[in-house]
């Protein structure tokens, strides 16, 4: 029993990342009808927003500390971050420690700008082109973004730690009455899951309960009619693209402490996220979220030793296998609507 709970928990953080990326992909597909292969790159840029903010905050100047000496006997030179000059030593250190959560605030405007520029500058010209062209141009864009990040930050993963308070692990089993150390779960992964749940809830609430969301949903159902009613649907869809980029970026920011960001992390997630979208059903937002968590949890179950003993290698292929089975038995995916991408 405890092993099962542990695997479900383990699946949650990856599942959250899949769900967030798939949600953004589906938003873009549902509104603009564009298959965005550069979405993984947006996730990666989000993670590098966290890295950038961390680097900005730790920008420092050298001060000679007369009271201490280095090993040669000279006065020790100490790097003092500018943040500590501004806010005092303790507050500055706290700000640096909390750089990843702060990067959320930093990344939202950055990602929205990137998303809007992408849509206005490139994707706009591809609405009437075939899906294959859209896939190809966004694939090219993904390569370019990835290479730019590689030039700026290098090819090695950059460790980006979570705040001190979240670094430990929670003995989750004790709470449920199991033995101590049966279910150990890092705090940050819990935070990540909660964060993902909030973002997903916020996106759904935004679409469901605001006038803007209502118009966007109407536009997803019938773009032309909404346009005929005198609503500038293109502008709203552009904003939705920015929002989807922001969702992917936030998923990346918060993922930085779990996996040190590197330039190809976007591509690694992209392939799986596409599988998630297709399993959930092209154009279905609840489907994307459901499939994201489902596949994340399945993946972690498949990596249990007991299961690997029966079916060796299953952990490597489970997601693809499930995708193939679902696509063949339920061609529209779990929650796909009729008439979306049926050609």
């Amino acid at each position: 029993m405890d092993a099962i709970i542990l695997q479900i928990l383990n699946g949650l953080d990856k599942g959250s990342a899949y769900a967030l990326i798939a949600l953004g992909l589906t938003l873009i597909f549902g509104t603009l009808g564009v298959v965005n292969f550069a979405h993984g790159a947006l996730f990666m840029i989000g993670a590098f927003c966290a890295v950038t903010l961390n680097r900005l905050l730790t920008l420092s100047h050298q001060v000679v500390d007369e009271t201490r000496t280095d090993f040669l006997g000279n006065p020790l030179k100490v790097d003092i971050p500018y943040v500590q000059d501004l806010f005092g030593e303790a507050a500055g250190a706290t700000i640096i420690d909390w750089s990843v959560p702060l990067a959320i605030l930093f990344s939202i405007p950055v990602m929205i700008v990137i998303g809007v520029v992408m849509e206005r500058g490139l994707i706009k010209h591809f609405y009437k082109r075939p899906h294959a062209d859209q896939i190809l141009v966004t694939f090219g864009l993904a390569i370019v973004l990835q290479e730019i990040i590689k030039q700026l930050f290098g090819a090695n993963p950059i460790p980006t730690p979570a705040p001190e308070v979240f670094r430990g692990s929670l003995d989750f089993g004790v709470m449920l009455g199991f033995d101590p150390n049966a279910i150990i779960y890092p705090y940050w992964r819990l935070v990540y899951f909660a964060f993902a749940a909030i973002i997903i809830g916020a996106v759904f609430a935004f679409l469901q309960f605001t006038t803007f969301g209502m118009v966007v949903r109407a536009g997803m159902a019938d773009r032309e009619t909404v346009g005929l009613l005198g609503i500038n649907i293109d502008r709203r869809f552009t904003i939705m693209f920015g929002l989807a980029a922001a969702v992917a970026g936030l998923a990346g920011v918060m993922y930085a402490p779990i996996n040190s960001p590197n330039y190809h992390m976007g591509m690694d997630f992209l392939v799986l996220s596409f599988v998630v979208v297709v399993v959930g059903g092209m154009g279905s937002l609840p489907g994307a979220v459901l499939a994201g968590f489902l596949l994340g949890i399945l993946e972690s179950f498949a990596s249990m030793n007991e299961i690997k003993a029966i079916l060796p290698g299953i952990d490597q292929i489970i997601i693809y296998l499930v995708a193939i089975i679902i696509l063949l038995t339920r061609p529209r995916g779990l929650m796909g609507r009729k008439g979306v991408m049926e050609d």
Binding site: L136, G140, V275
Partner: protein, 400 residues
Amino acid sequence: MFGLGKKDVTLFLIVAVMALFAPFILNPFPTDSGLAQFNAGYPDLMQRFVIFGILAIGFNILFGLTGYLSFGHAAFLGVGSYAAVWMFKLLSMNVLPAIVLSMVVSGLFAVVIGYVSLRRSGIYFSILTLAFAQMSYNLAYSVLTPVTNGETGLQITLDDPRVLGQSATADGGIPVTNLFGLEMRSFETLDIGPWAFQFSVGYYVAAVIMLISFYLAIRIFRSPFGMTLRAIRSNQNRLYYTGLNARPYTLAAFVISGMYAGLAGGLLACMDPLAGAERMQWTASGEVVLMTILGGAGTLIGPVLGAGFIKYFENIFSKINDQVVHGWVSFLPDGLEDFVVALIHPFVGKGWHLTLGLMFMLIVIFLPGGLVEGGQRIARRLRRRPAEEPAKSASTEPAE
């Protein structure tokens, strides 16, 4: 001639002459000149030109004709390589059985994958093929290690049986791949003045196979079968209404293109008897798509051009480093020189992927028909006849 139309014969002969004289054509700069680094006439690169040409020709039979965008073609390339290396390990170092087996195995593989994937079309088909390719890739790295030798890659060793050949040469080395005694890696060097031209056996074997594949591709393009495939691309429903079931045709196209990929994989293993799982990774599949689009999908010569183009830039661009750039712009004043070098730096050497991505985007945006369309546009511009303009614009519209 050979059952081809007049235009096709001309095209085929041009390609044949280009392929046979490639060691001259690709080696225009004298060996000791500063431009020698732009020469592409060395065996290793020329082999890759023709082998990836075969891969792209095969991919084009599927994508260019039926419009099914497969994102998992690298799986067949990898399977072909493994099959060929196993043939070297078990039977003999002759390349012929290896090539045959790699085509058969990848063909069978394509039947299975195609049978399942072709139930869906559009993006679903792309995702299904991608899923199969990633599965093969992951399995090759993990469970199938006894067959694939995991991360190390499959290699030939001294204690392989090789029932028809010998396990080791007389002097105790690992035997090399050959075609009835002609060693693949051997080459002749011809010195004419300052030029040195290299003629490699491996290259010519691959080039001849490429020409055969190209000829077959022309025949497929011009056949009723090819016409049916084009009909599938333009409107599958109408085809159903006329009483034709499209699936056997698409499956046939898929298997043919899978066998082309397997052949390319087998040839890669013939030139360098080594097979690794990274050949199956989805970035490799993306590369094939890139080559075909870059050259011009649906055209005969496009994929070959695209393959050559990408492989050339991969080799040449990645060799250019800062010193080389400094050498080019040394005539500029110092500050400006450093500035220009800093400007060029991100695009060459290790950054050539950036150039590739940019080039790819520009081509998809401005030249959806690839290099072939670019060539046609230039040709049209050169012999501009105002009377022809309206007729042309009407004929290139898709029939939707």
